[in-house]
């Protein structure tokens, strides 16, 4: 560096020549480039497929065969496609809940537990009020399922707002509590007396089941999900509440100075988040399994985190990604027919997430040269 103050009359020596015309290249980080290009999610999926192909090949299987099997199983047949849609419903509802909470940087990773208690509450209605007419039965199940999920969300929100406990840990611990509670009721008080000792509640009657499309397993829960997404979009875009959420999301400090109660908002988003997962649980027992049993959710709550993240919290994106991941779950089931564990799909999900967060950041770096 040469000083160039003008008042100095020192003779400026030329800078030593570094020789040749090699410029030094360097990486520079530009934090203003927050919008990643549209193709990053697609590329993440492709790279994740490649990475997992290595593991599959290392285990002595042909990745191409496995992936083809997965894709055909999920989207190749009309049965597979409706199954994919069936799986997309809870993903959409839970993913939407996670997206709402994440709008203000509240990490709800407890959708799994919220879904479970929602399913339990809906089942409780069938156990304790078995002879209600169809409309009342479904309505009550929906109300109870939503309320239970919302309560579970509240149990995560209050420690965060009033005791400063990180909501990640709380919501996760509550997942395990919910799953143990589920085990308790299906092995204990709600066990079907005519179920040959199988851990599960009695079958729901037709009055307690959600209507389905024709002869498929696709149930009315899809409408719940789409309506919820529409409401989310309108609320975020056109209401004061949505505006406040966007404000907190953009700049929490400014929002606090503007007199917005962040505590109140954290509680509200967790109630919504839990409630939506509760609806997903109710729809799952009432629309798909028609009984409460172990393993009611093959990890919907965790997959939904990626769904929300991949969709960048965008309503339309949520619909697309939940169908995609529904397909991934169904594809995971279909590789079981060739003797592979369905955990392949979980592995893929983790890998997709890795590449996604890497891709979000990588384009912020630019190669610059020091002339």
């Amino acid at each position: 560096m040469s000083s160039n103050t003008g008042s100095e009359t020192a003779v400026l020596k030329p800078l030593p020549d570094k020789g040749g015309k090699w410029y030094s290249l360097r990486l520079e980080y530009d934090s203003s480039r927050t919008r990643s290009p549209w193709w990053t999610p697609i590329l993440s999926v492709i790279l994740a497929l490649l990475l997992c192909a290595v593991f599959i090949a290392a285990n002595g299987m042909s990745p191409l065969v496995v992936y083809e099997k997965m894709f055909r199983g999920a989207f190749g047949t009309s049965y597979g496609f409706t199954e994919t849609m069936v799986k997309a419903i809870p993903l959409l509802l839970c993913g939407l809940g996670i997206a709402v909470a994440y709008r203000i940087s509240v990490w709800n990773i407890g959708a799994e537990g919220q879904l479970t208690v929602g399913a339990m509450a809906a089942t409780a209605v069938t156990i304790y009020f078995p002879d209600l007419p169809s409309f009342w039965s479904i309505t009550l199940m929906l109300v109870f399922g939503t309320a239970a999920g919302a309560l579970w969300g509240l149990m995560t929100a209050v420690p965060r707002t009033h005791f400063g406990v990180n909501e990640l840990i709380t919501s996760l611990m509550l997942n395990y509590v919910a799953l143990l509670a589920l085990d308790y009721v299906v092995f204990g008080p709600w066990k079907d007396p005519k179920g040959f000792n199988f851990p599960g509640s009695p079958m729901f009657t037709a009055a307690q089941s959600l209507p389905v499309l024709g002869s498929t397993r696709l149930h009315i829960g899809l409408i719940f999900g789409l309506v919820a997404v529409l409401i989310y979009y309108l609320m975020i875009k056109f209401t004061r509440w949505g505006y406040e959420l966007r404000l907190i999301g953009a700049n929490p400090t400014a929002a606090r100075y503007a007199g917005i109660h962040i505590r109140k908002h954290i509680i509200i988003v967790m109630l919504i988040s839990g409630g939506l997962a509760g609806i997903a649980g109710m729809a799952e027992v009432s629309g798909v399994t028609h009984k409460l049993m172990q393993g009611i959710s093959p990890g919907y709550g965790y997959t939904a985190i990626i769904v929300a993240w991949l969709a960048k919290l965008n309503p339309l994106g949520l619909i697309v990604t939940s169908v995609l991941f529904g397909g991934l779950i169904v594809g995971g089931y279909s590789v079981q027919t060739i003797g592979l564990p369905s955990s392949i799909s979980e592995m893929l999900q983790g890998a997709i997430l890795f590449f996604l967060i890497a891709g979000d950041m990588i384009h912020r770096f630019r190669v610059r040269r020091n002339a």
């Binding site: 520079e28 395990y176 509590v177 564990p341 890497a358």
Partner: protein, 309 residues
Amino acid sequence: MDFTTQLLIAAISAGTPLLLATLGGILTERAGIIQLGAEGLMLMGAVTTCIVYIRSENLILALLSAVVITALLGMVHSFLCVTLRANQTMSGLAMTLFGSGLSAYLGKSISGIPLPGVSPKLDLGALKSVPVIGDIFGRMDYLTWFSLLLVLVLHLLIHHTSWGLHLRAVGDNPATADVMGIRVQLIRYSYVTAGAALIGLAGADMVLAYAPTWNEGLTAGRGWIAVGLVIFARWNPLRALFCAYFFGALDSLGFRIQLLGSVVPSYFLKMIPYVVTILVLMYLGYRNRNKPSGTPESLGTPYVREQRF
């Protein structure tokens, strides 16, 4: 042996994996990087140990593989969080998902096969015949002794050496550390990697001392409990020892109560550690609401050296 001694033995055996994972978490987070991948790392450590031990029947090799594999995963986490400055929470979640998926996939072939042996116990000779003390210390295996030694080493490292000073500086105020000539990125990389390896060792300990066969998802949330324990122990190795054994005791208490023939269904007893984690964190949050919690100040914020454009 009376009930208390038995409980203490059980607490130590159940607490050791928690302790190792908590120490790993402390190392990682002291450097300012959040580690939420503990569950996935523990599972990967456990499954690697099982596979290598069953195939090679060599315990040392199995432990080494577990450490190496999880250290590599730790490097992935540090690459994402340190070099790319990605979202640390998300990276940890990805680690947990990927780890549980991959471990289930890899473990499919050895599921339910018993391991060729357990972790060997350190023979203390004459000490064994001493009541209580002999009962407790006479049945501890090498990994447990190692974890105790590690508590001491890490305590001295963090609080009484210049390396520890550098580590704390990087976790609290990386910009200042950088100005002082400490290599922030290098320190973060090393500690995140070492921490991940320790968490992997915790997974190995789970299968060697606790559940001598591989089952899908056998850690059952212990990785997450360890994440809570890091906060509970206020990023301090000595406290981590007591916290981990306390939770180990809770873990085994449910099991003991069952043996005594209690009326409470076992499912509720199994909930104890999870519920207590939440309650303890709430209590700590309430008690320390106006006090510093001991969190490394720059935990979770990536460090960017200023640059010209």
